[in-house]
């Protein structure tokens, strides 16, 4: 009962967030000064008459509320409008690129979460020198901007050593993973640092809890204590942070996809922002926010399975 009510509350909260976010996204981009139609020109010369004709064609003279209703209505029909530069539906434009970006995010999240939590656990359990070294590594990687990492990896592993392809997304799953290794690693570096730190704190915190001592005092073996009482308990904060990271990785693709010449949603976002192709920007922003809310709601929904106390109203800690 408590669980069902709690799940219901989370779902409603997620929907409210999405609703307000969609209004913000649409509203902000419609209140733009200047003329979005110029995007269509691709920087070439247009006469004022041509511009007026294009404004008409894109329905930019419409009222804000009506515009929003039309747009959100379209969203429910999976129609995000028409790109100004590409002249095609934003939905199909995104659909063709979401695969690459999704894989990139998943790959990068897997790297960051896998290495991050492993390093966090090992350093928390071993302590001492290992802990100090990993904390320095984590501090430095956390502070490594994605674009710096991208440049570094690109010049070292692609241009210098030639171990990985420098660009493109490849075809077929194996080839694609091969191509996306460097971009995923570039994105994963900072996320790794964050996870290593958060994970280390979580694991160390759990390790110092009395029930861990109690378990040891009952003769439970070291491995089982770690598995059953430390990892399991630290999972909640780790999962929460990982959820936030995954969603921000999606936007992080803007940087790596540009740096590695991957044609995904991120590079589309960058080019659309600089061309002010609003239907595309709106569409991507909406997808990013939906993804964020979705991932975090999923994490929220998973939390009761990890920590039953969350549904009892209290915090996870």
């Amino acid at each position: 009962m408590a669980v069902a009510a709690w799940l219901g509350r989370r779902a409603v909260a997620a929907l409210v967030t999405l609703l307000v976010a969609s209004i913000l996204i649409y509203g902000a981009l419609r209140l733009v000064p200047g003329d979005p139609v110029l995007a269509v020109s691709g920087g070439r010369r247009l006469t004022p008459g041509q511009i007026e004709a294009l404004r008409e064609a894109y329905g930019l003279n419409q009222g804000l509320v009506q515009g929003y209703l039309d747009w959100i209505g379209g969203v429910f029909r999976l129609d995000l409008g028409t790109s100004m530069t590409y002249q095609t539906g934003v939905t199909s434009l995104l659909a063709s690129r979401l695969g690459v970006s999704g894989l990139l995010v998943a790959y990068s999240a897997a790297l960051a979460i896998g290495f991050g939590s492993a390093v966090a656990l090992v350093s928390a359990v071993k302590g001492g020198l290992i802990n100090r070294v990993t904390s320095i590594v984590a501090a430095v990687t956390t502070a490594t901007p994605t674009f710096v990492a991208a440049i570094g990896l690109l010049s070292l592993f692609a241009v210098g050593l030639g171990w990985f392809p420098a660009t493109g997304a490849g075809t077929g799953l194996a080839d694609r993973l091969w191509h996306l290794t460097l971009p995923a690693a570039a994105m994963a570096i900072a996320a790794f640092g964050v996870l290593a730190r958060v994970g280390n704190a979580a694991f160390a915190g759990e390790l110092s809890r009395e029930h861990v001592d109690v378990a040891r005092g009952r003769g439970v073996s070291g491995g089982a204590v770690i598995r059953r009482h430390v990892v399991r308990n630290a999972l909640a904060p780790l999962l929460t942070v990982a959820g936030l990271l995954v969603a921000s990785l999606f936007v992080g693709t803007a940087v790596v996809e540009t740096a590695f010449g991957v044609d995904g949603v991120g590079s589309l976002l960058v080019s659309s922002v600089s061309r002010r192709d609003f239907p595309v920007v709106q569409g991507i922003a909406l997808v990013a926010v939906v993804l964020f809310v979705l991932v975090n709601t999923l994490v929220d929904l998973a939390l009761p399975a990890i920590d039953p106390r969350v549904t009892a109203g209290g915090p996870a800690r």
Binding site: E210, G217, R218, V220, S221, R228, R232
Partner: protein
């Protein structure tokens, strides 16, 4: 002395090494016989918990121990981790003050209870049977349902029963109870103590009962050790603790505690505050708060001397109870 389930002899404990070592315990000697309830009382910081934990072989990080600790003739301080684990699985159990902190909050109560049994090699199904059995024994209604519930769904008193059930599930020879009722209401305390005593008597388990409540110690324990500043200052039979306190500290404590029984008498406060071993003055640790203290107390740490049914570490025993 095969009768002793716990033998702590001249246990010393210090953290750090050399110049910067901080002493925590000195010269602590405690014995618990089979089926006996032994109290360990003292104010906070006197080293009760450290002593109890030492019996499990759980020393604070970076601490060095001197002296000896044996549980059922196994040398705890010298034991390797395997022996120690085996010992903990089969012979000693410990109950802590706060049951909520003692149980992993994210696992089911059933997991907590069966974990100890499974570690001993009991098959899963049999372990679950035993766990339900135990819960029934400690007075929890619907034991089977309780196995599937989470700790936060229990009240403090009920949860302490679960912990007790867990501690007894392995049928230990020695039970270390570190203030097991301090977090509970007085009425609940009575119930839990009753339960603990029944189970312990039934199985002949030896129990080291740590508390700061003199009344409780006197009521429950066969023998009581009084600790002050990391040392045992008095050892007395439970019954004579009130009647004839041997050490000035014990006497001062009694005089400082108000009581519901008998006539209303004024209480006498003790000057100063309790010390830890590291902070205490050289010689007798209690001397700066002691009304009987003389210059001789500063010289050296007084040795234990018998006094009536008790023994105490004081040079002026005659001044306490003639």
């Amino acid at each position: 002395m095969g009768e002793d389930v716990l033998g702590i002899t001249r246990l010393g404990l210090a953290i750090g090494a050399g110049e910067r070592a901080v002493p925590l315990l000195a010269d602590v000697t405690v014995r618990v016989r089979r089926g006996e309830t032994v109290g360990l009382v003292g104010e906070s910081g006197s080293g009760k918990s450290l002593t109890a934990r030492a019996a499990l072989g759980m020393l604070p990080r970076g601490a060095r121990a001197t002296g000896g600790v044996t549980v059922s003739d196994v040398d705890v301080l010298g034991a390797d981790s395997r022996t120690l684990r085996e010992l903990r699985r089969t012979r000693v159990s410990m109950i802590f003050q706060d049951p909520r902190a003692s149980i992993n909050p994210v696992r089911r109560v059933g997991d907590y209870l069966t974990e100890g049994l499974r570690a001993r090699g009991v098959p899963a199904r049999a372990a679950a049977e035993r766990a339900a059995d135990l819960l029934g024994r400690v007075g929890i209604r619907d034991p089977r349902g309780a196995l599937r519930r989470f700790p936060h769904q229990f009240s403090g008193g009920m949860l302490q029963r679960v912990v007790i059930a867990g501690a007894l599930s392995t049928e230990p020879e020695l039970l270390l109870a570190d203030e097991p009722t301090t977090a509970l209401d007085v009425t609940t305390q009575a119930e839990v103590i009753g339960l603990l005593r029944d189970l312990q008597r039934e199985r002949g388990t030896g129990m080291l009962f740590v508390t700061h409540d003199l009344d409780l110690a006197a009521a429950v324990c066969d023998r009581v050790y009084v600790m002050y500043a990391g040392r045992i200052v008095e050892e007395a039979p439970g019954a004579s603790l009130f009647a004839a306190p041997a050490h000035p500290y014990t006497k001062a404590l009694l005089e400082a505690s108000p009581s519901v029984h008998g006539d209303k008498v004024a209480i006498k406060a003790i000057a100063g505050r309790p010390r830890s071993l590291a902070e205490s003055p050289p010689g007798c640790s209690f001397r700066d708060r002691c009304p009987l203290a003389g210059d001789d107390c500063a010289g050296q740490v007084p040795a234990h001397r018998p006094h009536g049914a008790s023994s105490a570490a004081c040079l002026h025993l005659g001044g306490v109870t003639p």
